[in-house]
């Protein structure tokens, strides 16, 4: 493809982007959030039309009007977010994505065959709701493989996988490449790209800034190409830890979410000044753990204790009074009300600890000062504090939400996915802010799917697997293998590539 440009009102998402992929090549598309990777692949997949430039596929002019055209020409895509129905079986889900699905029994046989050929074991009769995230991704991949694609696009495929599952996926992708399929691999995880990809195109602010062979560069060089500046990792404090600030014992609770994961006998303690990192593949009880900790989900009183005081049966307001703040993963709709202004959203969780109400009456001037303080301190890019939360970009809203919680002089901090969708420099400043609060004596629980992030900031490390939490271990000295096993290994799929 040559000179592709796509402009949206206000931003140019892609400007004059050109690159080429040969059959059998694994090509990396590397860039921060907002660099224009998604827009680019949407153009290739026919979801968005380019404003200028042209593409060609195997020597033919290629301008797909819609995804079905792209699919019929041999372009397949595995999205970051799965589009599967929990209440249907694997085969039914695959059939739904096809233009002219064969009989279910025939399809099931083909699914079995493809899954064996590529070392991706999958039972076509199982309900998708019962599958792990790695297995769901397998459904999406097999759905693509059934079309016998010439070009396979993978959008951030490893964000939901354990290290062992990543290995299996990579073996499959390498096998596909050997058979001549071109693979466009989108990621911001540098080590993966170095181990998997033959070529890399690096995007920054919609432009190609470099093309390179990833194996010849260090991860650090790639990161600096991607971000454009020199990154400084956050500094950890070496202060001794204090008393136990948060104690969780025998926490078992059913999930309020359909097809959610119940928590089973979760137990851990966090000391003042300690950062506990909780890893785990998405959907293993992270959301439920956050709800149980911040009081949206009630349990028996002694299951959760803040500074020794049982709060398991108390609601969010009492827990905030006791010193706990929390930031859920879903920013819009859960951590913030989309249609309310930033001032109102500052009041949303700040009213208790910032004393923004007097006998129930709201101190709007105080709430405005609080909101303006967050915007300034955490570098939230917004025209003002009166705009609706939904008008902020994801990264900016994340900075606002995390800033709001960290600005409340908390003694216990619980954050799910603190830097999800935030660009690298903002992520670094959020991580630094979290570590600073810990250095001031706060106990911090960080739930994240980004292992690098956890290893960077956490003092101790535990993993959630199907609602169970492993015993926390000191982060220092942990190997990737040990972490992978804590996260549940590869769900019994290690043998898949034994003969390959």
């Amino acid at each position: 493809m040559e000179g592709l440009t796509k402009a949206y009102p206000g931003v140019v998402a892609n400007s004059d982007v050109s690159f080429r992929i040969r059959p059998g090549e694994v090509h990396a598309l590397l860039g921060e959030n907002g660099a224009g990777k998604s827009t680019l692949v949407k153009m290739i997949y026919g979801l968005v039309k380019p404003d200028s430039g042209w593409m060609s596929l195997r020597g033919q002019d290629y301008a797909p009007a819609e995804p079905s055209v792209a699919r019929s020409l041999g372009v397949a895509m595995v999205f970051q977010h799965f589009s599967l129905f929990d209440a249907l079986s694997v085969a039914e889900n695959v059939a739904l994505g096809m233009e002219a699905p064969p009989k279910l029994r025939e399809l099931a046989a083909r699914i079995r065959k493809v899954s064996q050929d590529y070392g991706l074991p999958l039972d076509p009769d199982r309900m998708v709701g019962d599958l792990s995230a790695g297995e769901r991704q397998r459904v999406e991949i097999i759905r693509c493989l059934l079309q016998d694609p010439k070009l396979l696009i993978m959008d951030e495929p490893t964000s939901v996988l354990t290290p062992q599952e990543v290995d299996i996926l990579f073996q499959t992708l390498r096998q596909l490449a050997r058979e001549g399929t071109a693979i466009l691999y989108i990621s911001h995880k540098l080590e993966e790209i170095r181990s998997l990809c033959d070529e890399a195109t690096i995007l920054r602010r919609g432009k190609v800034v470099a093309t390179c062979t990833p194996r010849e560069k260090t991860a650090r060089e790639l990161a600096e190409l991607m971000v454009g500046t020199v990154l400084t990792p956050p500094e950890r404090s070496a202060k001794p830890k204090g008393d136990v600030a948060l104690e969780v014992t025998g926490l078992s609770v059913a999930s309020p979410i359909p097809f959610g994961t119940a928590l089973k006998n979760v137990a851990f303690t966090v000391r003042k000044g300690e950062v506990l990192g909780i890893a785990g593949v998405a959907g293993n009880g992270q959301d439920e753990l956050l709800l149980a900790l911040n009081g949206e989900l009630r349990t028996s009183p002694s299951a959760v204790k803040i500074a020794g005081v049982p709060v398991g049966a108390a609601g969010p307001i009492q827990r905030r009074k006791a010193g706990m703040v929390s930031a859920p993963e879903e920013r819009l709709g859960h951590a913030a009300a989309p249609d309310m202004s930033l001032v109102e959203n500052a009041l949303l969780s700040g009213s208790v600890r910032k004393g923004l109400t007097k006998s129930g009456f709201i101190d709007w001037a105080g709430a405005r000062r609080f909101a303006e303080g967050i915007v300034q301190q955490f570098d939230v890019r917004t025209p003002g504090t009166d705009v609706a939360a939904r008008s902020l970009s994801g990264g900016n809203l994340q900075k606002f939400v995390v800033g709001r919680e960290l600005s409340q002089a908390p003694t216990v901090i619980v954050i799910n996915q603190p830097t999800w969708g935030v660009d690298a420099s903002a992520a670094a400043s959020i991580r630094q802010a979290i570590i600073d609060r810990a250095a001031d004596g706060a106990a911090v629980v960080v739930i994240s799917q980004d292992l690098d992030e956890l290893l960077e900031i956490a003092d101790s490390f535990a993993a959630l697997n199907e609602g169970r939490l492993t015993a926390p271990r000191p982060t220092q000295g942990l190997t990737m293998d040990q972490i992978g096993l804590m996260m549940g290994g590869a769900h019994g799929m290690e043998v898949a590539h034994a003969e390959a």
């Binding site: 969010p316 905030r320 913030a336 009300a337 009213s351 709201i362 939904r390």
Partner: protein, 359 residues
């Protein structure tokens, strides 16, 4: 080609302008409808909107009617708007209005013919409690058994109407009424009457209560944490739980407040303009108030204006019926248009219209 584009933030200017735009559009479309019916559209519109207030011939009668009709509409609509904002749909204000009238009137009639200052205040309290308890039925069923408050509150209207008939024919029937259905006339029993406070204005205690409710609701929504919780629960239920708002408490509170205000409206009506419990006492205020609440964009000040406008179209509509011979259905269609246009142009506060067909 026209297409809609979502605004980054809801436009305040359009939020204020859309009700006015809706009224203008209704006048145009209504005028066309009246013209098709063979009436002079300008005259018809003038009869509906102008004559009730300023025509020297009718204004003396119809001008006081404006407040008499608007009072209960505003009082009920203010209560409903709180629940609507929180996503709690009390459709049964009519039932709460009837039950408030019955309990209030019953207290007054129990004291007949004693003359004492405390009787009317006592009736006011019991009217509010009657409406509140009637609203507690859907509230408790929803919080305890997760029933749908829309259905339960609506169906309880029909129960209340049967209760009203039974009261008018039985327990509350005037013993000196010669067997006719209907209670004693409360407006002729000074200790229990809700008279016109300033002659020729239609102002009675119910109208005073409506104004107080508007001010109270305005402060609640703008300045109080409870009002904030109500708005939050309506806009983002999960964020409300995160903020620590208890859904159960909110359901009880919102249905309780709207029920009590509807009950009050019923009591002021039965002791004033209506005068007695009769079979045909229920006049649909509880349902019309739903329209008023949305016409006023669930904003207390907006509801005040919408209540007055709605009352005006009722009075003007009646006037147009006997002055111009317009059919009653045409007047109802005209009122329906008002709601239709209001909901249609409401889109403009969240979206802007763009020309051009690009994706």
């Amino acid at each position: 080609m026209l297409r809609l584009e979502k605004r980054a933030s809801p436009s305040r200017a359009w939020g204020m302008a859309t009700p006015l735009l809706a009224v203008v559009l209704t006048m145009i479309a209504g005028g066309i409808m009246f013209a098709i019916l063979g009436k002079n559209p300008v005259e018809a519109i003038r009869t509906i909107f102008w004559d009730p207030l300023f025509n020297p011939q009718f204004a003396a009668y119809s001008r006081p009617q404006l407040l008499v009709k608007a009072g209960p509409l505003i009082l009920i609509a203010v209560g409903l708007s709180l629940g609507f904002r929180a996503g709690i749909w009390n459709i049964g204000a009519e039932g709460q209005y009837i039950v408030g009238a019955i309990t209030g009137a019953a207290v007054g009639l129990a004291f007949y013919p004693t003359e004492a200052w405390f009787i009317f205040p006592l009736m006011v309290i019991s009217g509010a409690i009657g409406g509140l308890l009637w609203a507690m039925i859907p509230a408790v069923l929803r919080t305890a058994f997760r029933t749908n408050e829309i259905l339960v509150s609506l169906l309880l209207v029909y129960v209340a109407q049967s209760l009203l008939s039974s009261m008018a024919l039985g327990a509350l029937r005037n013993p000196q009424g010669g067997g006719f259905p209907g209670s004693r006339n409360l407006s002729q029993y000074p200790a229990a009457a809700n008279p016109e406070l300033i002659a020729g204005t239609g102002m009675h205690w119910g109208v005073v209560a409506a104004f107080i409710a508007v001010i109270f609701a305005y402060i609640l929504l703008q300045r109080h944490m409870l009002g904030f919780s109500i708005r939050l629960a309506g806009q983002a239920p999960r964020a409300a739980r995160y903020a620590g708002v208890s859904p159960t408490r909110l359901v009880i509170l919102c249905l309780g407040i709207s029920g009590a205000l509807a009950g009050l409206a019923g009591l002021f009506e039965v002791s004033g303009p209506a005068g007695q419990i009769s079979i045909d006492f229920a006049s649909g205020y509880g349902f019309t108030a739903i329209i008023v609440a949305f016409l006023g964009r669930l904003n207390p000040v907006g509801i005040l204006l919408a209540g007055l406008l709605m009352a005006l179209t009722y009075i003007g509509g009646e006037l147009a019926q006997f002055m111009l011979g317009l059919p009653a259905a045409a007047i109802q269609a005209f009122q329906g248009m008002l709601l239709f246009f209001l909901l249609a142009v409401d889109l403009l506060s969240n979206y802007r219209i763009r020309l051009g067909g690009a994706k």
